[in-house]
Symmetry: C2
Subunit: 113 residues, 2 copies
DNA sequence: TTGACGCATTCCGATATGGGAATATGATTG
DNA sequence: CAATCATATTCCCATATCGGAATGCGTCAA
């Protein structure tokens, strides 16, 4: 088997930096593709491809507006990620005083040898 | 270019479900490789490979303990992710009343035609 | 030393990627 | 209808993946 598809879930979709930038931009409101492409310095096909991925995982919605297609944010799919990561909050605070102490002890032990 | 390396940052590293499971398990404390492999139903080399990725992005630390290597959680690298995703919190609440409303309006409009 | 154990690495195959270039599609305008 | 604008899709390439199988390597016990 190979790596999971970027479209397999939001975790994979947001692993790509440019897609994160797109999402960030869309917080300001809906935007047409070319707009996004230009603002982020990517090609039009590039933007379209990233938007396709975001659409497939449901992080973005499209609305037809004449010639244009306006993409808008649908952040609901980010919530599970926030919750999963949040499950580690106590560990990036509390716990690591211990670990740092441990590391310092180690260094000191080595110096003493 | 191809897809970014899984080791390029924490976002990529946690895109893989099994690595997420490893991290979750490690909240309970340090564990040797074989332990993890067995508990998660993966092969030993499989576990080793995933742990390597997690180590390279700094989400995990190793400690030699005789024959064994004890892996421990270092969740600090998850904090930036939590913050980035958190930047969308207002959008998965507030904003989507509007969008849902919009969608309902659309449906109604179509029925009326 | 010889085994045995715990882990890491390497080699393989199948697969999916992101980017660039070219092209197709669809709606709008004249 | 023809031309044009806004997007999407397709093709191609270089690259990196995850998984399985086999193997390497360091540590400990007899």
């Amino acid at each position: 088997m190979a790596r999971a598809a970027t479209t397999s879930d939001a975790f994979n979709a947001i692993a790509e930096p440019q897609r994160r930038e797109i999402l960030a931009l869309l917080r300001a409101g809906e935007r047409p593709v070319t707009d996004l492409a230009q603002e982020l310095g990517m090609s039009q096909p590039g933007a379209s491809k990233h938007l396709r991925v975001l659409r497939e995982v449901g992080l973005v919605r499209v609305r037809e507006a004449g010639k244009q297609r306006l993409y808008g944010l649908d952040a609901r799919g980010l919530r599970p990620i926030h919750e999963w990561v949040g499950g580690f909050e106590q560990f990036w605070n509390e716990s690591f005083d211990r670990l740092d102490t441990y590391v310092q002890d180690l260094k000191q032990t080595q110096q003493e040898e």
